[in-house]
């Protein structure tokens, strides 16, 4: 699916500046990594199901592995999506607006994305620290829970950076340049 949401964006995709050319591949590879984690989880699930049906039993801890790694992989996707202007927005009311005003609104939107991501990154870190302190472990494999939680943090940090960067890009575009 060439997810077509982004195409309905009235604004042309940005020419990334030097920082963007550094950021874009990082988010892209992170998204690919997340996607490949899901592929791996699919394979593990198949082994688990077949094992269960054949009576040799599922992969030990398959459910908790799936949950932990899916959380990590999903967190990897956000920055890539935001950098490609893939957010779901209502553009019905602003269709006829001059581009400069739309850029200003989108700059504010991206800034809010950044604040949201920073907040989530901070609170998830707090959760991971608390789980580490309490020594909570998963039910079957007895893996420390905090590792799974901490793995999500980089994804949200990257989303925060992407949000700030996109806000800057929109502001620049408003003045007719590129960052």
């Amino acid at each position: 699916m060439k997810e077509p949401i982004a195409d309905t964006e009235p604004l042309a995709p940005f020419e990334f500046g030097p920082f963007g050319r550094m950021l874009a591949p990082v988010t892209k590879w992170m998204a690919i990594a997340g996607g490949l984690v899901f592929v791996a989880l699919v394979i593990m699930s198949i082994i688990s199901i077949v094992g269960r049906k054949l009576g040799v039993g599922p992969v030990p801890g398959d459910v908790e592995l799936l949950q932990m790694w899916a959380a990590f992989a999903s967190a990897c996707f956000f920055a890539y999506c935001h950098l490609h202007q893939g957010d779901v927005k209502v553009d019905f009311f602003t269709e006829k607006f001059p581009a400069a005003r739309v850029h200003l609104m989108d700059a504010c939107g991206s800034l809010l994305v950044a604040m949201f991501a920073a907040l989530i990154a901070w609170r998830t870190t707090a959760l991971a620290l608390a789980s580490k302190e309490s020594g909570e472990t998963s039910a079957v494999l007895a893996w420390p829970v905090w590792i799974g939680q901490a793995l999500m943090v980089p994804g949200f940090v990257l989303l925060a950076i992407a949000g700030v960067y996109m806000a800057a890009m929109h502001l620049q575009a408003r003045e007719g340049g590129t960052a």
Binding site: M1, K2, E3, P4, I5, A6, D7, T8, A31, I32, G34, G35, F38, V39, L41, V42, I43, S45, I46, S48, I49, K53, L66, Q67, M68, A70, A71, S74, A75, C76, F77, F78, Y80, C81, G86, D87, V88, K89, V90, D91, F92, F93, T94, V102, M105, D106, C108, G109, L112, F116, L119, I120, R123, T124, L127, A130, G148, Q149, M152, F156
Partner: protein, 443 residues
Amino acid sequence: MSGITVGFLIFAVLLALLVVRVPIGIAMFAVGAGGYVYLSGGDTLPLLNSLKNLAYARLSNYDLIVIPLFLLMGQFATHGGLSRALFRFVTAFIGHYKGGVALASIGACAGFGAICGSSLATAATMGQVALPELKRYNYAGSLATGALAAGGTLGIMIPPSVPLVVYAILTQESIGKLFVAAVIPGLIAVIGYMVVIKILVTWKPALGPEGPRIEWPERFKALLEVFPVLLVFVVVIVGIYDGWANPTEAAAIGAAACGVLAVATGGMRTQGIIDSALGAAQATAMIFLVLLGADMLNTALALSQMPVELAAWVKNSQVPPLLIMVMILAIYVLLGCVMDSLAMILLTIPIFYPMVMGLDFWGLNPTDKSIWFGILALMVVEIGLVHPPVGMNVYIINRLAKDVPLRETFKGVIPFLISDFVRIVLLLLFPAISLVLVRMFHN
């Protein structure tokens, strides 16, 4: 302030944010967080505490993992050329009728919808395959694009369906039951669209001439090619329903099967796998961001007691339940003018669901009622994809068919919208259509 006042205030601010293009998920999150702080008496500590687990609890939710898995499955199906095989297959059997190539497009959309949970993807993928063929056989632009834009909605109407998964999670309903319940309404949609095409080409034969006649040996070859697709669908749906695989496992089986098919028969290689991963990443992030925001919003709304108070008020208002349901459906059609289908479900179900559950519809028991409402809501939000002004599917198809003016496409969609409308009335008046399969399997 009463709960209802706070609740309405939250929605008012939310709408204002949406109008100025704040991403939907973020807008929901912002008003939810603001409302939460207000309801905790201005103290931010409860908010910060509840935020700790927001992301991890959501993204590690076992049921929710079906969404990225189904998206990955759809990606493999797209990059593995399964759409082409499906189209060839349906054309081989019904292409030679009047309007046959358009009929085949609908059929192929339905087939693709059975392995893909997204309407936009179905419209885009099938559009690429079918539009050139429709043009080759001199189909009118309005019929070609209208049929494909409408056919694309079969992507979510025929299970697996991402909006249904979200509905199931929000209402703690069984994903399996909802999928099974969607099968007959989905088939009715297919038949409805085909009837529309038949009527149109009978009325004006020039709109859609006969396609190629294919001989039986060729037909069998085409059948063999799509047989695996059929198998994937049956395994996923029956597996979930029969209970030998839970939805997450069934989605994993589906994704694996489509991946293997794409590599084995569709020539998908490393680049295709990377593209699939990126496509799934983009779509997942889009959906999950809205989901995280909706979580925050729903926490605040629950704290405000607004949904409960509103449901009680509606229940005591003595307005006939059917009228309330019609109003709810009308609101969906209106919201569909500006909003994406999934965002609509996430935004409204927390309010509408308690309302519907508090009312009596033909004496349905709560489970039946919640399944029936889920299917109805799905059918209504889906038509937002084809009606003006947003009509995402219409834009996608129109962009693919470069020589057809947008106005033609919107005109072409109207007959299909009428059939959508008829179907929704049927489903509204006869809940049994949605429930019969569930009851049959479930005992």
